[in-house]
Symmetry: C2
Subunit: 246 residues, 2 copies
């Protein structure tokens, strides 16, 4: 074990703020940072332990996926007492869809923490979701189920798991937001500007203000997407008030 620690430590040394970045993502302090180092080690690094077992995040994906499924299952069970097994299964599969997991990983910019010999541009889209699952697996090993649950509530359930949305009742958050503002006689404005930064693809940022106060920000590859994302975030800020309109 000491040996693996040394290998991992030397690799992550140049990434001096790895520990701080992990705390930032988790919202709590890891007990053993090595689980997280493993969660961000790509197979291309070709690291093995003394018994020849590969050290990378792939096995952690399996574990994280199982924990994610369990936490989402228990949330949906309690949240929707009227939903039968088929309904609960369908709703869960929407939350843990490949697409959604990729979005979660991308939002946290997990790819920025990966140690790999492959240039980031060559990773497929699924790496975002895979890293997210691996991170959940690492949290389980480091701190157990309760912290896993805490993290999934913070990063998945609270911001994204909304029954109306999952059921497809909300088509556009932007139109929902506009409708709500008009009804409540509030002013609103989307301030969009190009913000490509270091990305290869063109990006846009948007600030959404309600009553002249910025309530949410978002960034995406089109103006429309960025506006929708900001609206969705604002929706969760005003959730109780706005969801009465559904």
């Amino acid at each position: 074990m000491k040996n693996i620690r040394n290998i991992l430590n030397s690799r992550f040394k140049r990434n001096g703020n790895f520990f701080m970045e992990i705390i930032n993502i988790l919202g709590f302090k890891p007990k053993d940072i090595n689980f997280y180092k493993k969660a961000f080690t790509h197979r291309s690094m070709n690291i093995k332990d003394s018994k020849g077992n590969a050290i990378n995040y792939e096995r952690l994906e399996f574990l994280g996926d199982a924990m994610l499924s369990a936490v989402i299952a228990s949330h949906l069970y309690l949240e929707v007492p009227s939903g039968d097994e088929g309904y609960l299964t369908k709703m869960r599969s929407k939350v843990v869809s490949r697409e959604h997991l990729n979005e979660l990983g991308r939002e946290l910019n997990l790819i920025g923490l990966v140690e790999s010999k492959i240039p980031p541009g060559q990773f497929g889209d699924n790496i975002h979701g895979n890293l997210f699952e691996a991170l959940v697996g690492a949290i389980f090993l480091d701190r157990g189920y309760k912290y896993c649950e805490k993290f999934i509530y913070k990063r998945v359930i609270t911001p994204y798991v909304d029954i109306e949305t999952l059921e497809g009742k909300v088509i556009s958050y932007k139109s929902l937001l506009i409708e709500w503002c008009q009804k409540e006689k509030r002013t609103f404005g989307y301030n969009v500007y190009e913000d490509t930064g270091n990305d290869e693809v063109r990006h846009f940022s948007v600030k959404l203000s309600i009553d002249n106060k910025v309530v949410s920000k978002a960034r995406a590859t089109s103006k429309k997407k960025a506006e929708e994302k900001a609206s969705k975030r604002a929706f969760f800020v005003f959730q109780n008030k706005m969801s009465k309109m559904l």
Copy 2:
């Protein structure tokens, strides 16, 4: 909620020892017996809460299945450090196969606790596994993940999850046991007798002795099956010693 409690209580009253039987199965005391009552209420009872939501074990199956998958995943992750994602997924699906879950439910005779308007003989085979899943779901709601894990270790992992078996390396426990006894110069004997009891189908019981001491018992619908089952149980009694032969 009080209303539901009353409904469930009156139903389970005639089953006065329900609480004791549950303790016996769990190996610990439930905090709220109502979760378990729900886990043994068949949809044919047609019970609804004040909001019209059906009260039966079907939703609990969904929850229990998720918890079972999570606990087995974490066990396999830790137990087989050399297994990749594909291997872990395959091994887990063997443990949580419909067939295996039915066996687990049958062994605990969970069907004996069910409240139903359908005669037990008319239930399909899957009811055993479904009740087992529902029971795990009830444990999660009653006592949380840790107790769920504890129960699954006691009832599933310790007695049944053996990597060599899952990998199909052990073909027959009886031949393994005989080989081991011969090597260790121990005497053994299978004492088989018909033991149909109240069952409609013919049953056999067997007592397996090693060095003239009964080490395990089993009961099944054929002599061969009963012997194999008793050998499997003996295998786990002598696990450390016998597994060296694999």
